[in-house]
């Protein structure tokens, strides 16, 4: 049985919703009642059936709508997709990875046939059936990275590894939490993380870089990150701040359950075989408060996390303006009873 893809929008009338099954599989990021940075990296291995980790590259009911939203973003701003000249080989690596993983996880929707370097790719949800020569850019309508990331949920950064550092030298970034590929392109790991508060003092980036540069082929890793977004908008980019920044002033006690969304990023890290680069998919999951609190454990825990979040983090994540409203609303769903350990709903 295949996925039923929803017709919905991430802009204007914001018709994005999660089905009840998708609420239960939401990757809730808090395993305890408080939050602080940690190097929370673990092996990216297949997880339980019915979770977002059932396949290493997850495709869900929002796939078609997300790809349509990406196409709209790119039409307005082509610089959301960039690849420096030495990164084409890494783009082919990524095309292979995403085609293989999507075909493996969802054979009813995607089919990849390989005969040497002659490949055929069928993407039924998007109505694509293309034959091309692997390694020959002229046989695809876009460069290899752009071609496949127009057909894959989540943002993708490809990091070149050299001089003991990682360099943001290619990417497709249209569903980002307020950062810009066009600004960061060509920067190294420390440069693009410079704005993050507190973590530098903890030496987190030095350790994280050491870990990432040693990621091995066949052994991907992952971590979760989170923030909040007002309205289910995928494209919260600095370029479009004027469109979404003011939304944060529209939150009221009456609409907070509908407007405030927990935004969770499932970030994974993979060594690419031909280019020796690292690809860093950042998969964004959104859930509105009304949906999230259908799981009482999550409601209690989120209340405690947001209430006790250090000021610097609340500022960095852009929550300051509506935090009191949100905490007040969530507090009514927190009777103070203990929450069970772990991420999942009870």
């Amino acid at each position: 049985m295949g996925i039923t893809f929803r017709k919905e929008t991430f802009r204007d009338d914001f018709t994005f919703r999660n089905s009840p099954e998708h609420i239960r599989r939401f990757p809730f990021p808090f395993h305890e009642d408080s939050y602080m940075y940690a190097v929370n990296i673990e092996p990216h291995v297949v997880g339980p059936k019915g979770s977002v980790l059932e396949n290493l590259i997850d495709v869900d009911e929002h796939y078609v709508a997300e790809m349509q939203d990406r196409a709209l973003v790119l039409a307005e701003d082509p610089l959301r997709c960039q690849s420096l000249p030495h990164m084409t080989l890494a783009g082919w690596d990524l095309l292979e990875l995403l085609m293989e993983q999507q075909a493996l996880g969802y054979p009813e929707h995607f089919t990849l046939t390989r005969d040497g370097d002659r490949w055929r790719w069928i993407n039924r949800p998007l109505g694509i059936d293309d034959s091309f020569t692997f390694g020959d850019v002229s046989t695809l309508p876009y460069g290899p990275m752009e071609y496949i990331t127009r057909q894959s949920q989540g943002d993708f950064c490809i990091l070149d590894q050299r001089d003991g550092n990682l360099w943001m030298d290619a990417g497709m970034v249209t569903t980002q939490a307020d950062w810009s590929l066009d600004f960061d392109i060509g920067m190294n790991f420390f440069e693009w993380h410079a704005p993050v508060p507190l973590a530098h003092e903890k030496g987190i980036f030095v350790r994280a870089l050491k870990f990432l540069t040693n990621i091995q082929q066949g052994k991907p890793a992952r971590r979760l990150n989170w923030t909040m977004t007002i309205n289910p908008r995928l494209d919260t980019s600095p370029e479009n701040y004027h469109k979404w920044g003011p939304d944060r002033a529209t939150v009221t006690p009456e609409n907070v359950g509908d407007k405030a969304h927990l935004r969770v990023e499932l970030q994974s890290f993979w060594r690419l075989p031909r280019s020796n680069a690292i690809v860093f998919p950042i998969r964004c999951y959104l859930i509105k408060m009304d949906e999230l609190v259908t799981q009482p454990k999550w409601a209690r825990r989120l209340h405690r996390v947001i209430r006790d979040l250090p000021e610097e983090l609340a500022n960095y994540k852009g929550l300051t303006r509506y935090r009191p409203t949100l905490v007040e609303w969530l507090s009514r769903l927190d009777d103070g009873s203990p929450t069970s350990a772990g991420f999942g709903p009870d």
Binding site: L84, L89, A221
Partner: protein
């Protein structure tokens, strides 16, 4: 989490003597599937089960990265070594079942380079076999300068000349041919990257001349072939696991730790990647540091050791393992 690599079950599909010192081994997957794709400069760690003893040695993959039906490595016989190469030469036959690691690349091409200038010495030619194949397939600009002792020991020299013609230049020690290094390094176009693989002395010389001639450090890439050296046996206490072990003459400290059932992470087993770095809790004796990872200060401090290649002589050594 461990940063070791995933393992591949392979079978030796061919064994080809190349010259009086070097033999080439071909591996295929036992399940008939394709092997993982790799990039030029990558190595695999080959597990050699020799009776009671297991040796793990890294070898560069020398086939074309475009062909993953098989992996090929070339092993130079080292009669004075710890026996890994002798095991490969004497015991391994077509049909032998072995285990190798996933490929790991610690000697990667910088794909921004306008030109790749490669300097090889002896068996240090092997990573360049794969890198030149990768570059040639994509119209890459490279030039290879290869020094060997004699023409008959010039492993793959003829093949490289046949494939790449004038892009390969050969130098023979017995004919007193030498790379005119300063001239070579002074006449490269902007944007050239330099790669060197061979004996330690050669790597040191090339790095020193490149630095003296103003090459930025980021454009100079090198791979040491620091196989673990044999030495006098010594005893070690592993404090965390509460074990006392003896390191044999032909065994590396890392192998002895593994034989005791303790598994430190590793990638290169050649003293360059830093994964198996181990803290020294106490010692009474002298370290024989053979790695390229720790700083001179670390070596002097006596607080750290790289067990993959370094040894110890003295009364007692206690490690944090």
């Amino acid at each position: 989490m461990s940063t070791g690599t995933t393992k591949l079950d392979v079978v030796v599909s061919d064994v080809v003597p190349v010259n009086e010192l070097v033999t080439r081994f071909h591996f295929r997957r036992r399940d008939g599937q394709l092997l993982p794709t790799f990039s030029g400069g990558a190595h695999v760690v080959v597990e050699m089960r020799d009776g009671e003893r297991t040796r793990l040695n890294p070898y560069s993959l020398m086939g074309s990265p475009l062909d993953t039906r098989e992996y090929t490595i070339s092993v130079r016989r080292d009669n004075a070594g710890r026996g890994g190469s002798l095991f490969m030469h004497r015991q391994v036959r077509p049909g032998t079942e072995m285990v190798v690691s996933y490929p790991v690349n610690l000697f990667s091409l910088d794909l921004r380079a306008r030109k790749h200038l490669m300097l090889a010495g002896g068996i240090g030619i092997t990573p360049f076999m794969a890198q030149t194949a990768q570059l040639a397939a994509d119209g890459g600009n490279f030039e290879l300068h290869y020094t060997c002792r004699t023409a008959s020991l010039g492993t793959y020299a003829d093949l490289l000349r046949e494939r790449y013609d004038r892009r390969v230049r050969l130098y023979h020690d017995d004919r007193d041919e030498r790379v005119d290094l300063d001239r070579l390094l002074s006449s490269q176009p902007l944007g050239t990257h330099l790669y060197v693989c061979g004996p330690s002395g050669m790597i040191g010389w090339v790095r020193e001349r490149a630095a003296a001639l103003g090459w930025p450090a980021e454009t100079v890439h090198f791979e040491h072939f620091a196989a673990p050296q044999p030495g006098a046996p010594f005893d070690v206490t592993l404090a965390l696991s509460g074990k006392k072990i003896r390191v044999d003459e032909q065994q590396s400290l890392l192998e002895a730790i593994e034989a005791a059932g303790v598994d430190p992470p590793y990638l290169c087993r050649g003293g360059v990647c830093g994964q198996c770095e181990t803290n020294v809790i106490s010692h009474d004796g002298k370290f024989i540091h053979n790695d390229h990872w720790l700083s001179e200060e670390d070596h002097r401090s006596g607080c750290k050791i790289m067990p993959c290649v370094s040894r110890f002589e003295g009364r007692s050594l206690v490690l944090e393992r």
